[in-house]
Symmetry: C2
Subunit: 195 residues, 2 copies
DNA sequence: GAATTTCTAGAACGATCGTACAAGAAAATA
DNA sequence: TATTTTCTTGTACGATCGTTCTAGAAATTC
């Protein structure tokens, strides 16, 4: 009756390797043959496991978003409040060992902004996943409007600083600005209220 | 002796039209033939005026960066202080009529992060141009370290909020967060000091 | 008008793109 | 072992890519 079983692990391994390739070689010129060559398989193998190239791009960036979020969300969960959570997120994201991954993250982000229908899920979740995490970090008693406002600002500031850091490599200046922002958060003044 | 003179205006017009095309159709799949078709010229004409495709991309994104900066820098110059300058920048950049242009801006930004040697000038100036403008907005008497720190934070926050706005389209939430940040700036507390 | 240079267009080059097809090897069941 | 399904490969197709070449029209100086 049933023939050879589907090897899901094989597909997962290929996907991980493809994500690694994308992190190293970029996202703009990603095509079947170079990826297949780097992974030591034929293009047909990739087609068999991922379907079309568009579908492969979708699963790659989905995995990338998962990784970028998972790397920090677990740290957020352990923190007592938003300020500590924000500091934990910044500490992890500003680590030079993750620069290549975040360069790809912003490359995907930019491309998604110009093809919103193709990358709809990415655009949907690229903010909301972190929003939920940072709102929760403020505890159940926080005012929802204030919590949303503060979480939005924390996400935006961290990503903006990261954009600066990746473009200029000026760690001292960016870290200085980040410390200023985090200190403001930790002081609990100026960001939760309106005026 | 001298033959037909070089028509610089022609090249400038073609460049403007190419930038408009890029804003409308995106940056990822920009190639000679579609651009030439949209502009009503042959690919040879584009090659003649811009050389290689790589060179055309460079001048396009240079022009784009000029436009993005010029649209706000003049507003900054008229403001009395940093808080007013930041508000003027945010008001202009969050205008929906500029969304398409900023989508392209971030697409270029992301791509530049993955090809730093090709887009070296973009990466150099994408932060420093605004830095200079926002440091100047704080007046000659401001402490340089503080002015740099604050300018870095203002640029990062505005760009981060813009990333959110372009991805989610949630104007109410993002504007709420922006108002919170601008209010903090206008109160002059929490961002200029370290603790 | 002759000479010279720029501008524009069309055709063609080799390379690479995504994808489809045919076929054999591998791994399960009956 | 026979059967069935998955996995993998090589080949090939049409399309598009950036670029080059050839040639004619346009604009200037002599």
């Amino acid at each position: 009756m049933a023939g050879r079983p589907v090897n899901h692990q094989r597909r997962a391994d290929l996907l991980d390797a493809a994500v690694e390739y994308a992190i190293e070689h970029g996202f703009a010129d990603l095509s079947w043959r170079p990826v297949a060559g780097a992974l030591g398989v034929s293009t047909t193998t990739l087609v068999h496991h991922f379907g079309t190239k568009e579908q492969m791009l979708e699963v790659i960036l989905g995995r990338l978003r998962e990784r970028a979020f998972a790397a920090t969300s677990e740290a957020v969960g352990d923190q007592p409040d938003l300020a500590a959570a924000a500091r934990a997120v910044w500490t992890r994201t500003s680590d030079p060992r993750q620069w290549a991954e975040f360069r790809l993250f912003f490359a995907v982000y930019g491309r998604a902004l110009q093809a919103p229908q193709q990358f709809a899920e990415f655009l949907d979740r690229v903010v909301t996943d972190w929003m939920r995490s940072l709102v929760e970090a403020q505890g159940p008693d926080a005012d929802p409007a204030t919590a949303t406002r503060t979480a939005t600002l924390v996400i935006a500031t961290i990503r903006g600083l990261l954009l600066d850091l990746l473009a200029t490599g000026d760690r001292d200046r960016v870290q200085d600005a980040a410390e200023s922002f985090l200190a403001t958060l930790e002081a609990g003044r100026g960001l939760t209220g309106r005026g």
